[in-house]
Amino acid sequence: MNVVPLYVAIPLLAAFLIPLLGIWWKKSGEVLSTLSTALLAVMAILSIGAPAVVHHMGGWTAPVGIALVQDGLSTLLLIAINVVGFLCIVFSLKYMAVYTGLPKYYALFMLMVAGMNGVVISGDLFNLFVFLEIASIASYALVAFGVEADELEAGFKYLILGSVASVMILFAVGTVYAVTGTLNMADAAREIAARFGGSDMNPALLLAAAFFLMGFSLKAALVPFHAWLPDAHPSAPAPISAMLSGVVIKSLGVYAIARVFFTVFGFSPDIPSSAILANGILFFSVISIVVGGLLAIGQWDIKRLLAYSSIGQIGYVTLGIGVGASVLASGGTRSLAALAILGGLFHLLNHAAFKSLLFLSSGAIQYATGTRDMKRLGGLGERMPITAATTNLAAFSIAGVPPFSGFWSKLIIIIATIKAGHPAIASVAIGMAFVTLAYYVKLQREVIFGDVGAAVSKAREVPAVMYVPLIILAVVCVGFGLLYPVFGDSILEPARDALLNGAEYIKLVLG
């Protein structure tokens, strides 16, 4: 017996209990969700360094039943989801107090956490789809939670595009099932290798892969499919924006792309079509980096700027993974692919920390000043020293100022891109890194430094329950930059190896 199913079972228990107890006990949401996310975060952190484990649901062995797998990559995502989730819940305690219907908010939040945890530990394609839907549906509702006109519109847009993504993913799952006769990822991978290994990929599988890529890119908001994100992320309440940008697009989009493409389809020079898929990922990444970065410059709403920045930064994450894929597909060395993937995963972890910190900070600013308009802000450093300091740290990290964490991860990605023989892509990535620096300098100048803005003059520092999560995240950001040797070996490298060693995954699940 192992604890893997509890990552889903605990948040679901909380989610079902909160509305039930909420009828009589008004604080049920606050208490239960804080307790359960804290427990989950502790569980995730304690599982660092543990060997990969598999749990056969209902005792039915893998291809017949559903297998849950926690390997290095799952652990990485579990840590990001549950730690950020816990901090966002703590932040919500005060921030959300002005909203009505709080038991529903906390229940939906727990459902979102359960859905994401379910996605990252699932070893079954259809099960991954179901939990992806749970997380998506909870986030559609949470985006529109304020029920103001623009929130509803953003939520509706997100809902419609998310439904298209779901249909595409389900279509792809059905096609993989039709071709391989199984839904288990390890079994499907083995079947694909056995039947099509050495020859080119079946066109049906290529179509399935294309649909998977489109569907997951919609969930990850990579550029041709990004239309919903700049509306949805700013409209949501700040803790939800932090969850959406910090972990939802990563676990539903990037993780799913990495898991499905590396584990199920596989990249190797034996399969010429896999190069097409790798180039597809690279293409989406590059245009995401460019479009997200350029559109962010012109924004005057803090949260909208952060949302566009998320598109660009997700592009860096998938760039690392895509370079790794293309190296594997063209028969390059494994160590180079490993470097690129490591860079991507490192940036994923970094982005989870600093983007959720930035969104929570923007929430704190909005809470204190009542506005997110940069033209009305300024001089926050004097009035709200803690929020200003954490925002500064996060902005330095994301802009890639050495020695902060964002610098190292972008550096690894760019080095790997150059070594892999894509100098044009690398130069775009370097150029856009400076653009990132430019718009975060703009954010700092307009919000934190400069003259005291119209909305800031009466602002006071936010209460402790709001700034403590900010400080914790800021410490994490700095820690990622300075202490790579401490967590690199224990978190990032197992995650990278999980992606590279498909054979071990298959052996683990199928025995």
Partner: protein, 185 residues
């Protein structure tokens, strides 16, 4: 059941026509009723395809879909649709359709993809052979959804829970309490 192909084609063509009506009609009530007609035809198609469980579910869900759609939309005062011509959208759809069709000709005729009526059933063989002896449920679909893959069904129940909770949250009267005033939640 013998050869079901003629019936199936009739139903599918009916569904396509129904969808065209639903998409192009100017009146929302007609659109909603047409889309429900498509759903009922789908339910009959499921019955022909040897899926009575799904047919029942589709039928009862379709009734509910119709009621919800009419309740939610039609009784509001404005039910006619102004038409727009959006060339870009038409072009996008045509490109998508062309890709799907082009791929489709290659795929669904290819060796790797099982022909219609000949599923692979690699894992499903286990369900069919051992469903009754190992779960004691005579309905193999039930044994799959509530025993072999019960975890998926938990997910399904959770999806419904989440969406109903979300719908109730969105239909709240006010999102926030009066500005600045903090009431006990």
């Amino acid at each position: 059941m013998g050869n079901i192909t003629p019936q199936l084609y009739t139903l599918l063509v009916f569904m396509v026509i129904g969808s065209i009506v639903a998409i192009e009609t100017r009146n929302l009530l007609s659109a909603v009723i047409s889309v429900s007609a498509v759903g009922f035809a789908l339910s009959v198609a499921f019955l022909f395809l040897g899926a009575p469980d799904i047919a029942i579910t589709q039928l009862v869900v379709e009734v509910l879909v119709l009621i919800i759609l009419i309740r939610g939309t039609i009784l509001l005062d404005n039910t006619s649709v102004e038409t727009h011509r959006d060339t870009l959208a038409v072009v996008t759809s045509l490109i998508f359709f062309g890709l799907l069709l082009g791929f489709g000709a290659m795929i669904f005729g290819s060796k790797g993809f099982p022909a219609f009526g000949e599923p692979l059933m690699r894992v499903s063989k286990v369900y069919v052979q051992t469903g009754l002896p190992s779960t004691y449920a005579a309905n193999i679909v039930t044994s799959v959804i509530l025993d072999f893959r019960a975890y998926d069904t938990l997910g399904e129940a959770t999806v419904l829970f989440a969406s109903i909770l979300g719908a109730l949250a969105i239909l709240r009267r006010d999102g926030k309490t009066a500005k600045g005033e903090v009431v006990p939640a």
